[in-house]
């Protein structure tokens, strides 16, 4: 074996932090340009990558250290248009600061993958798990996925490139996971054999990248020009919506193919059900709270309750069809948000979307919008069991709990004046 071969990743299990898993995924995906700016709790993702790049473990990868997140997104846009596979990571305010460039990335249809170690929005200043950051980017045209485990971070990044770079998709994607809870804790993560990853996610079609969008001196092309209202602007926007809706199928296929090659499954890619088939009470939940909720469901099942949960894996595109099927299965369905959509029908982004999805379907399932863990507030298994018991009580009595705030249950909230 040549010396260089020894450095090529072989399948191995490492006990690593969620952020390190994200860095390994970018390495496995053979990203070509990384742009970075530190922000808690993401920082160690890009630090690990700088260690890989400067240590010679990612030959061919360029690493740019820029002066702000705004420049991060602007520079990966440039690198992506030039025809490379790009990666970056951010959190909270960093994502907010990128905002105008995020719109730009989707509008130009660039397959950029960005991980978000999610944290609460300031003020007051908060750096703990809360998905309000990625939710804030909801209407930009990016796809977005939530991860519940360390392994899922690694796996989802690989699946994301697969979907983003599909010529029928060509849109960017966020891969979000709870700050500190996943980013800074360690768990065993299977890092896959590089050859197998290359088989699943081959290098770009040719050295110049994606034929539809790259800048090529042989075929001059402009991006981002002004379009008058009579021009194709409306059509460009319609196509983003059309593509996002169609990408659901692509996500399902990429998830299935991933399972075939690597043996790990994530439901249909959009949602993952847990004991839903015979349940009469269920909950829709996402991120790390979903992992812990499995324990609560197991405990309650042992106590004889027929309860189940559905893990929401993708927020955009929103899996409307799956949500309808989930709602049909149960009499009472809770929807748990860890993130805010102020002024929306429920205050919770996902619960508002669930209600909208069920409109005009004739489904009579009672829905309870719920909030927990905002700004990293601790949520334990016992509390989650109580949350499910609230739903069970709703089923038994037919009545809503009496402590709702504008129709939503804010669990674990302190008394305020």
């Amino acid at each position: 074996m040549s010396k260089a071969k020894e450095f090529v990743q072989k399948k191995e299990t490492k006990i690593i932090k969620g952020n390190v898993a994200a860095a390994y995924a970018a390495k496995s995906a053979r990203v070509q340009v990384i742009s970075a700016y530190p922000i808690t709790p993401q920082t160690t993702v890009v630090e690990k990558l700088s260690e890989f790049v400067d240590g010679g473990l990612m030959p061919g990868t360029q690493y740019i250290r820029v002066e702000s997140e705004h420049s991060v997104m602007a520079s990966v846009i440039g690198a992506s248009i030039a025809g490379t596979r790009t990666f970056t990571a951010t959190s909270g305010q960093g994502l907010f600061y990128m905002n105008e460039m995020i719109h730009w990335a989707a509008g130009t249809r660039l397959p950029i993958v960005t991980t978000i170690a999610s944290r609460g929005a300031a003020p007051p200043w908060n750096i703990w798990a809360d998905f309000s950051d990625v939710i804030n980017a909801r209407d930009t045209g990016w796809m977005s996925a939530f991860c519940a485990t360390h392994q899922e971070i690694y796996d989802e990044i690989l699946m994301s490139y697969k979907v983003c770079e599909d010529h029928d998709v060509l849109l960017p994607k966020f891969v979000a996971y709870g700050g500190f809870i996943l980013s800074h804790t360690s768990k065993p993560v299977i890092l896959e054999d590089q050859d197998l990853v290359d088989q699943y996610l081959p290098p770009l079609p040719d050295e110049k990248g994606w034929p539809q969008i790259f800048i090529d001196p042989d075929r001059p092309m402009m991006h981002g020009n002004l379009i008058m209202p009579s021009g194709f602007y409306s059509e460009f926007r319609m196509k983003i919506q059309d593509t996002l809706m169609k990408s659901k199928e692509k996500i399902k296929v990429a998830t299935k193919e991933f399972e075939k090659i690597f043996g790990r499954s994530y439901g249909n890619g959009l949602v993952e059900e847990y004991h839903m088939d015979d349940a009469d009470v269920g909950i829709i939940i996402y991120g790390d709270l979903a992992l812990q909720m499995e324990q609560a469901i197991d405990d309650l099942r042992e106590e004889g309750y027929k309860v189940g949960m559905t893990k929401l894996r993708h927020y955009r595109p929103f899996p409307t069809e799956d949500i309808i099927e989930v709602a049909k299965k149960v009499e009472v369905l809770g929807v748990m948000d860890r993130g805010t959509a102020f002024g929306s029908p429920t205050g919770g982004p996902v619960s508002s979307d669930v209600l909208a999805s069920l409109y005009n379907t004739g489904i009579t399932t009672k829905i309870l919008p719920m909030m927990a863990g905002i700004g990293g507030r601790e949520v334990n298994v016992e509390q989650q069991k109580e949350e499910i018991k609230t739903l069970i009580k709703m089923k038994e009595t037919g009545e809503l709990p009496d402590n709702l705030i504008h129709g939503t249950l804010w669990d674990g909230i302190l008394e305020v004046k």
């Binding site: 530190p38 890009v46 630090e47 250290r65 002066e67 702000s68 200043w125």
Partner: protein
């Protein structure tokens, strides 16, 4: 909020030995001296960005805004324009003020905004644990630059001078009296005053990197050209006031002696003014 105390009860989480303690101490010491000169404590308003420097906001018992990465410099200008009677200070790290907030810093200097900017220069993004900043020396190794940064750093004083700042000084956390005196001078100065405080972040930079290298300017420059030469010639360990000049300040050029808060125009007055205009048509 009781302003009689100069420090809050918030637990201090700076590393033991951090150069930030001296800045906190110097500001606390300067407040009573400013009061003796007739500046009310309640008229002093501060902002801070995000970073280890910004924790000073939690510890100093003054009114203000704990702003965002780099945005403290813009926020403090808003406060000043709304009520020019206030003495406004922004605390900024070298990453915060010369990186993410760079444009705000340059424009505050360009406008000669009547404010004080204290730049906590520690050569590191300390809160995110160890990345190089726009002012870090070339070759410094950190977790984002394992092989060492290959970028040349900014000379902050030079940039402020060129941009239009009118009071420019460099201080050191190990020279507390000089730091305190300079803070007082900067706050009293009418116009954009900028103090770069060399402030070792001891978890990343040893005091010995700075301690024996510090020296004071022999002669303080008396005009722009001299200041330009002195700032270019003297490396980052030279302390003193490099530039101190007079220029019209932003808010006075904007609205003269007006104060949008204390001299708010009443509805009655607005109607009188409108009537005057209408009658003259």
């Amino acid at each position: 909020m009781d302003l009689n105390k100069s420090e809050t009860d918030v637990e201090n989480t700076w590393c033991p030995g951090c150069g930030n303690f001296a800045i906190l101490q110097a500001v606390k010491k300067s407040i009573p001296k400013l009061e003796e000169k007739g500046i009310k404590r309640s008229d002093i308003v501060m902002t801070a960005g995000i970073g280890c420097h910004a924790k000073i906001f939690d510890y100093l018992n003054l009114s203000g805004v704990y702003s965002l990465h780099g945005r403290d410099i813009a926020t403090i200008q808003g406060i000043k324009i709304a009520n020019p009677d206030l003495k406004v200070i922004t605390f900024s790290g070298d990453g915060n003020g010369m990186g993410e907030g760079f444009a705000h810093t340059m424009f505050a200097a360009k406008r000669n905004m009547d404010m004080t900017m204290v730049l906590h220069h520690n050569d590191v993004y300390a809160l995110t644990t160890g990345q190089f900043t726009p002012l870090t020396e070339k070759g410094w190794k950190g977790p984002s630059t394992p092989k060492g940064s290959f970028e040349d750093p900014f000379n902050a004083l030079l940039m402020i001078l060129i941009a239009g700042g009118t009071f420019i000084a460099r201080c050191y956390s190990g020279e507390l009296n000089h730091l305190t005196e300079t803070i007082i001078k900067a706050i009293e100065h009418k116009g954009f005053s900028f103090i770069e405080v060399i402030q070792p972040a001891v978890s990343y930079h040893a005091w010995t990197e700075y301690k024996d290298k510090m020296e004071f300017l022999e002669n303080e420059p008396s005009n722009f050209e001299e200041a330009l030469l002195a700032i270019r010639k003297n490396h980052k360990f030279t302390l003193g006031t490099f530039y101190n000049s007079k220029k019209p300040v932003y808010h006075e050029q904007l609205y003269g002696e007006h104060n949008p808060i204390t001299k708010k125009v009443t509805q009655e007055k607005r109607i009188q003014k409108l009537e005057k205009i209408l009658n003259n048509l």
